[in-house]
């Protein structure tokens, strides 16, 4: 059994405002979650804007340093006191996928350049190895190198570009992928392509995911564990199906009851004369 993800008393305080009169904002407030498993898992982090879920993602990605506490990924301390791995080792362990793929890649460079650079710099491959790794990664997301080579972001749809982001993240062979709102910029009818890709990568390629989202329905579908965040705290954490079918915390209940479903209405709709 290995510790896939563990946070120990993770705190993050941002200071807002001027030098003399700065106001502290507690973005993460004593976040403690532990996921131990033999099999790769998807851990969803859900909550509203300002709940701290993106700060948690950034901390796990080492884009923010925690004010106190630490985070462990696959038995290695990656953030906070005693964080060991070098940047290169870290990027071989944890890889990001961001919300807006049009912003993640520059408009002025062909996207395959990013894939090749990741293979060379992060994974330390030579030319032929890099080419093979890019081909393999793109194949994993249902694309071919020929479809991507030399093309710019504007030549892809949001969904295709997000699949390329996933391919890029796969190249250094990471154990954990942190995806921050990966489908919120994608058409509702195409979201499941990305979600199912995550599922397949978990089941067939042994990747674990931290899936940051405000979409509880996709979180229910794909996740093994879910952490519900509100105002910097994790208010409820546990196996996804258990938490979402039998929520214990009022805030989780509020979130679940606010989802517009196609099965039951919030209120009667008056009939119209047609």
């Amino acid at each position: 059994m290995s510790v896939i993800l563990q946070t120990e008393g993770l705190n993050k305080i941002y200071r807002l405002g001027g030098f003399m009169r700065s106001k502290p904002i507690q973005a993460l407030n004593d976040v403690n979650i532990t996921v131990e498993s033999d099999k790769p898992v998807v851990i969803a982090v859900v909550g509203e804007s300002g709940s701290g879920k993106t700060t948690l993602a950034k901390t796990l990605l080492r884009l923010e340093t925690p004010t106190s506490g630490r985070a462990i990924v696959y038995d290695q301390v990656v953030a906070g006191q005693g964080a060991i791995p070098s940047k290169k080792d870290f990027l071989g362990l944890v890889q990001p996928i961001f919300q807006n793929p049009f912003e993640a890649f520059s408009r002025y460079r062909p996207v395959d350049v990013y894939l090749e650079e990741t293979a060379r710099r992060v994974a330390g491959m030579d030319g032929i190895q890099a080419e093979n790794a890019v081909t393999e990664a793109l194949k994993n997301v249902g694309l071919s190198y020929e479809e991507v080579r030399g093309k710019y972001t504007a030549q892809f749809s949001g969904g295709e570009l997000q699949r390329i982001s996933v391919a890029r993240a796969l190249i250094p062979d990471p154990k954990l992928i942190v995806a921050d709102e990966p489908v919120s910029m994608i058409d509702a009818s195409r979201r499941m392509i990305i979600i199912n890709l995550f599922k397949r990568l978990r089941d067939e390629a042994g990747r674990s995911f931290v899936y940051i989202t405000h979409d509880l329905a996709t979180a229910y579908y794909i996740s093994d564990y879910v952490a519900v965040m509100n105002k910097g705290r994790v208010v409820e954490f546990g196996p996804a199906r258990k938490v979402m079918s039998d929520p214990k915390h009022d805030y989780t209940r509020l979130l679940l009851s606010s989802i517009p479903t196609t099965t039951s209405r919030w209120r009667e709709r008056k009939r119209i004369a047609s």
């Binding site: 058409d187 509702a188 579908y221 517009p260 196609t262 008056k270 119209i272």
Partner: protein, 304 residues
Amino acid sequence: MIRLNDLKISYRIGGRTIDAVDGVTLTIPDNCVVGIAGESGSGKSTLMKAIYGDIQSPMSFSRGSIDYGLKGTDGKPVTAENVRKEWFKTISYIPQSSMNSLNPVIRIREQFVDFPGTDSDKKRVLERARAYIGKLGLPPEAMDSYPHQLSGGMRQRMMIALATFFQPELIIADEPTTALDVVVQKDILMLLMELQEEMGNTILVVSHDMGVHYQVTHKMLIMYAGRVVEYGDTDSVFADPQHAYTKMLIDSLPTIGDDSMRGVIASQAGAGGDRAYRVEPNLIEVKPGHFVAQPARQKEGALA
């Protein structure tokens, strides 16, 4: 009652003409919420802009007409030519990401009295506006704030207040809650439903979230590639969707508590075969008030 007759709206970009709305004929009854769904590029936002009368280059009205069936503030019928004069009064628009549509450098109260041709007594307008935003669940002080001092949900409420203040006959809401969290979204949608029932007007709601449509609409309009594929009462469309594209949209997202994953399979199947969804412009009534379009003829499919 609004009638769209064979409406065709095109964009001219770099010598190419793209028909974003391609032959839409439709009747929208009074006193109802109509939901418009379809993926990006299906023409739903273009259709809304055309109805609002906001047609600007490179967009152009290539064919057809809009019969508003509304009377303007001067008592004359609203037409495609004079619709601009009726903005905010008879017809109003809540744009996409409208929480960012408030003027950031002036106070909210100045934006309320800014409308051309409203009551000349600004004090009286302001008093009424203050009372009105109170009814919409906003504190009166919000009137004296700048937009950045309000949260996203409050700004969205404020936009709805601005759009409904003069009790317009027609409101067009383009993705009114897309940028909001689920809890705030529910509040805003409940508010919109209440206002509509109170005013008895017509609201057109564009959204890609079928859950939102099921919650708030009376009628559903499904668009694909610039054409209407299905149109009918919401209950009928959700219970018995006629077109494969509508089915795909309804089933494309998983439901909490539903482990059957029926939709997931549908959305995967729909990912590639897009041509199969293309339709002819004319609609056939399959049940009372429930219309569906016929598949596009092969010849046209090859041309497109």
